[in-house]
Symmetry: C2
Subunit: 413 residues, 2 copies
């Protein structure tokens, strides 16, 4: 007998018919002899409807009250799902954040889970029933309702799976797994069979929208195997697991791109200590996240250099006045902005043991005539900033070049 947590997103519970489909799937799993905990998101569109309503009351609503409102979406869908399971002859009961003591900090709209009291869930399972938990919501120490941020139901599910010692956490969504790249860009994209938590984290933060980043972190921390799959088919999806569990034998696992950033360049600033600290210190003070940073040592006779970095396009309004005043202070010759850029990345655990992966990436891009404007790397990732118009071309070239469409062998096979 296994203990399985199943998480269904908003599309999977988006209609009465689909809720019945969720109930059927949960009951089918239970009928195989497994214990089942279901975590649901709000019905698709419901959270937006509620937030719009609040926005009509006031343009800048208080986040505590927003969470009170937003949490009702999952409250309704959890009870509807329990009703559907009952209607199909099963035993089910809904559980809300405050009922399973899903304790969080009090960062409204973006709270972090601190602990869960799984007693009620265990009792429900031991009584032969299915527990249906409202995702996305918790309570702080004072009993105020909190929410975990968009995509927070994934995190709820993984945290509950960890708390009750589930054998795995199935994440049902409207796609059938994690792909080597965006199939809309590259028709030869292949569904990945198994991927490590680390790789998934890089993919999640680089723009793949299948799993919320924090849910992968929690799964990695507690070693909860994730299974990302479609609620509309019975085919296996993608397993997200630890490194030691028979991963695929590939160097590059996936290719992603991200058009949400803009490039900022301070032209010709003094290459002396403290300059860079001043620039990024001011950005940090304003809570502006900087992604890529490039600064070469000064090459010209005057000891001056260019400093390039990327920020979210949505932060540009705040960044521009800061840079105007900074460039005067630092004696920069100019500040240039470019929103027509894309970050293209390759991700793979195999890079750790394979030299020359980055070089191969540059080679592939060069062969297509794509200029690389900036580079950043981590242990298992290489990102290149390119002109936005080349993003899709770069993705397809890298996907082909690293042969991601070829079904890989398991490691050790």
């Amino acid at each position: 007998m296994a203990l399985i947590v199943q998480k269904y997103g908003g599309t999977s519970v988006g209609s009465v018919e689909r809720i019945h489909n969720v109930a059927r799937r949960a009951l089918a799993t239970q009928s195989q002899g497994d214990q089942v905990v279901v975590i649901v998101s709000a019905m698709a569109g419901e959270t937006n409807r509620l937030l719009t309503l609040a926005g009509e009351i006031t343009p800048a609503p208080d986040r505590r009250e927003m969470d009170v409102i937003a949490a009702t979406g999952e409250q309704v869908s959890s009870a509807l799902t329990a009703l559907a399971i009952q209607a199909q002859g099963g035993q089910a009961r809904s559980f809300l954040g405050h009922q399973i003591k899903m304790k969080t900090d009090n960062a409204y709209s973006n709270a972090r889970i601190l602990g869960i009291d799984a007693k009620g869930l265990r009792k429900q399972l031991d009584d032969g029933g299915i527990a249906v938990v409202a995702g996305y919501q918790g309570v702080d120490e004072q009993g105020n309702i909190t929410t975990l941020g968009r995509g927070g139901s994934d995190t709820s599910a993984v945290a509950i799976a960890a708390a009750i010692g589930a054998d795995c956490c199935e994440i049902y969504t409207d796609v059938d797994g994690v792909y080597t790249t965006d199939p809309n860009v590259c028709p030869r994209a292949r569904k990945i069979g198994r991927i490590s938590y680390e790789e998934m984290l890089e993919l999640a933060s680089l723009g793949a929208k299948v799993l919320q980043r924090r849910s992968v972190e929690v799964a990695m921390k507690y070693g909860v195997p994730l299974h990302v799959r479609s609620s509309l088919s019975d085919l296996p999806g993608t397993w997200v697991v630890g490194e030691d569990t028979g991963l695929e034998s590939v160097v590059v696992t996936g290719v992603t791109y991200d058009k949400s950033e803009a490039r900022v360049m301070l032209v010709s600033v003094d290459d002396k200590p403290g300059v860079v600290a001043t620039i990024f210190g001011e950005l940090a003070t304003e809570h502006i996240s900087v992604d890529m940073i490039i600064q070469n040592a000064a090459s010209d006779a005057q000891g001056r250099t260019d400093v390039t970095f990327t920020v979210a396009k949505s932060d540009l309004d705040k960044v521009e006045p800061m840079m105007t005043s900074l460039s005067e202070k630092l004696g920069a010759r100019d500040v240039q902005y470019d929103e027509r850029v894309a970050k293209v990345s390759i991700v793979g655990l195999g890079m750790r043991s394979h030299a020359g992966v980055a070089a191969r990436m540059f080679e592939i891009l060069a062969k297509e005539g794509i200029n690389v404007q900036a580079i950043s790397t981590s242990e298992i990732k290489v990102s290149c900033l390119v002109a936005a118009k080349y993003a899709e071309l770069a993705v397809r070239a890298l996907h082909d070049g690293f042969e991601l469409d070829v079904e890989p062998k398991r490691r050790g096979d």
Copy 2:
């Protein structure tokens, strides 16, 4: 400084504009130096929308889950109202059933309040804020969400007013008070200035829909003065108070009618001990409420009599087969049903000290040629069953006959 509880019904919070109107009113009260607790119903139509959704999942939804769903209506409106108060410059915070430990029994969809922990509300008031409470909802001993039944927000409001020792509980609604009778039937109906809890209870149970019966019972038990008034005007409404607080000096306070009952007559049954007990025992076993009961002593030579009673029309489906089998068992000659009846009642504390009020009622009806089919009385009420077609005529005749349109003097004036 007074402590005032204000309850707003679904129509009063039925739109963004109306919620802002509620916020304005609460802030206006606070700016007079009073402390204010606001209790809100769900936005008009919301509870029905939610119950319909559940009904689409399954025709016979579990009541525990129904309460989880239904409670979200008030959760949303309480947070929206808090946001509106904040938007107008006030300080406000929403409170849900589980956050004020509104403890109830576990009779889902019709729970009774057992206790309230008012600490959080008091703190909010002492901090200079307005507390906005989601009406209609509570939690049982295990933390399951319960609801108090339709109109339950009135009861929430009165129970909270009692728990925090409020000076009064204002019930805002879409009518401007309690009238001597239905103004749609009798244009000369007059708004009552002050009425006793006992009279209001009789009016509430006799079909006046302004206040939920249980809320009046709780108000009477704890001596909470109620003020029923319109959320769309500043005019005073109707005060519902104890008997010793300067009530109006009238014999009859109001006239009501009720067309929801049907008359059942068992014709010619043995007038011997146990027969009546058998009839009403069976009805009680099936949880069928009987209202009026009429049985005269046997007057004919055979010692046989007719037994008449009224039940809700909606119970007739269950009553008919029971009576068919009972009438055989008891040797009744026939069972007759009449759905075309109405119960017309006069209510007034003054009846206690004024003889002849019932006789005057019969006289007024007789003068209009209206036959009385059955009579029942209590200390402060007389009800007559008449043909349904005469209901409105009877109401108008009684309203005129007892001069309810005349502005009364206060007692002791």
